[in-house]
């Protein structure tokens, strides 16, 4: 039993052979501009990966392809999940609807709504319209909307880009907590090494466009605690790789 506890979620997913997402040689061009070169990877149930790459390298395009928002691409996506949550870069809340109505738009189960509002500290803002919320609160509602459907796969498209450090840390903690409870798989798109380390088990480093995976880094054993020296060590190592790859 003790040994079983040590098996991380990714390994467990592999043992059970539960690959929920298979990205096969995906590439995408906008006219003559090739944005995504040739990207392939698998995602197992309960696993979390980060797509780490420089701004404008096509990370968002890739996650939009996975979400089914872009149809005209080369390659194949095999997705076995029924419920997919998407935390957008900008909150995309319906401006004339209150927080609770924005959540009801995707999920009508009131018990689940109140549970999520409570868990994400949004209960007191349930009847507020988005214009009355701060940027951080709006992003929290964006996350709540993605979690309320109890997703099997959660996609995060640089959702912390416009937030200050406190809010960023607070929302990342919320995601980590929720993931412990709900055990969803996750794909995080980011250019921030710290976010990638905190939220994922594996990092795929992407090249500049046309983007392709240049390195796969297993970070499942890195403690998800920014005060831990091991975390800083891992962060420095990845940063040196980035300096070598993206800049050097």
């Amino acid at each position: 039993m003790a040994n079983f506890d040590k098996i991380n979620l990714k390994t467990l997913g592999n043992i059970l052979n539960t690959v929920i997402l298979n990205v096969k040689s995906v590439s995408k061009s906008y006219g003559k501009l090739k944005v995504i070169g040739d990207i392939s990877f698998d995602l197992s149930r309960g696993e979390s990966i980060a797509l780490l790459g420089p701004s404008g390298c096509g990370k968002t395009t890739l996650i939009r392809i996975i979400a089914g928002l872009i149809d005209d691409y080369e390659g194949a996506i095999e997705c076995k999940v029924q419920k997919m949550g998407y935390v957008f870069q900008e909150p995309r809340l319906i401006p004339w609807r209150t927080v609770i109505d924005n959540l009801k738009f995707v999920e009508e189960n009131e018990e689940r709504i109140f549970k999520t509002l409570e868990a994400l500290k949004l209960k007191d803002f349930a009847n507020f319209k988005p214009s009355k919320l701060s940027g951080g609160m709006r992003q929290r509602v964006n996350l709540a909307r993605a979690l309320i459907i109890e997703p099997e796969l959660l996609l995060l498209d640089e959702p912390f880009a416009s937030l200050d450090v406190h809010l960023k840390v607070s929302i990342i903690s919320d995601i980590i907590e929720r993931r412990k409870d709900m055990n969803f798989s996750m794909i995080v798109v980011t250019h921030d090494v710290r976010e990638a380390l905190l939220l994922s088990d594996k990092i795929y480093m992407l090249s500049d466009k046309p983007s392709s995976i240049i390195e796969e880094i297993d970070v499942s054993n890195v403690p998800k605690d920014i005060s831990n020296p091991e975390f800083h060590k891992a962060e420095s190592q990845i940063l040196s790789k980035i300096l070598g790859r993206w800049i050097g």
Binding site: F88, R92, I94, P95, W96, F105
Partner: protein, 248 residues
């Protein structure tokens, strides 16, 4: 209270200007003084045929408003949802919008002659294109990011229409309704004047024929007064109805 005071001052300014102009022109055939018009107004309102005419005009306005808003919003909604249909139908709607009322009047008189139907048809044809185009523009300017969000969460189409599209057309719909409510009186009365058999417009036509200028002014005053009352009542209800889609 302050607004009422300003409003009453405005009305007083109109009456003073009218009185001064009337004395300056000194011709009851061109501009009768307000007191004469007021006396005529009171005596005309006591006549059953005037009240009957007023009710007929009001009923036409009700029918025109109901048809214009219902069909305008419905047609606008559906052509706004489809780019191809919008592009095909837009030139035709613009042509109908540009045709002068007088042309419609001539056409309607040829087809239906003098009667109840003519003014109603002419008024609908004059006001419908604006409602259709305003609604269609509202639909077309819907935030596509919200539609994408709904797609990711697989929200049913009916829910998307109710929650996103309907909210998006509110600003355009509100301004279109204000234009319609403000113009419907003028259009119906002009149409009655030219091709009606009963109604305030017809009374104005008779008063003109018998050179009863004070009656023309008295009927005009009735139209303005009732028009303002109806406009305020309808605006109040429209705003109340659309309150659900306010942003704050």
């Amino acid at each position: 209270m302050e607004n009422l005071w300003k409003y009453l001052t405005g009305v007083l300014v109109i009456f003073i200007t009218w009185t001064v102009l009337s004395f300056a022109i000194n011709s009851q055939l061109i501009l009768p003084d307000p007191l004469t018009v007021l006396k005529t107004l009171v005596s005309e309102l006591q006549k059953s045929e005037v009240l009957e005419a007023l009710l007929i005009t009001l009923s036409k306005i009700g029918v025109v408003l109901a048809i214009t808003v219902t069909f305008g919003v419905l047609i606008g909604f559906f052509i706004g949802l489809n780019d191809l249909i919008y592009d095909i139908l837009r030139p035709g709607i613009l042509v109908i919008q540009a045709i002068p009322i007088i042309t419609w009047l001539a056409l309607v008189m040829f087809i239906w002659g003098i009667g109840w139907l003519g003014p109603v048809i002419v008024s609908i044809l004059s006001l419908l294109p604006h409602t259709i185009l305003s609604t269609a523009v509202g639909i077309r300017t819907t935030d596509k990011r919200l539609i994408e969000m709904a797609k990711v969460y697989r929200v049913p189409r009916s829910k998307v229409i109710r929650n996103i599209y309907l909210g998006s057309i509110v600003p355009q719909l509100l301004s279109a309704l204000q234009v319609i409510i403000g113009n419907v009186w003028k259009v119906v009365v002009v149409a009655e004047y030219m091709c009606g058999d009963k109604g305030i417009g017809v009374l104005i036509a008779w008063a003109r024929q018998s050179v009863a200028v004070e009656k023309v002014y008295a009927y005009t005053a009735i139209i303005i007064l009732i028009g303002l009352i109806v406009e305020n009542i309808l605006n109040h209800f429209v705003r109340k109805l659309l309150k659900n889609w306010e942003l704050v």
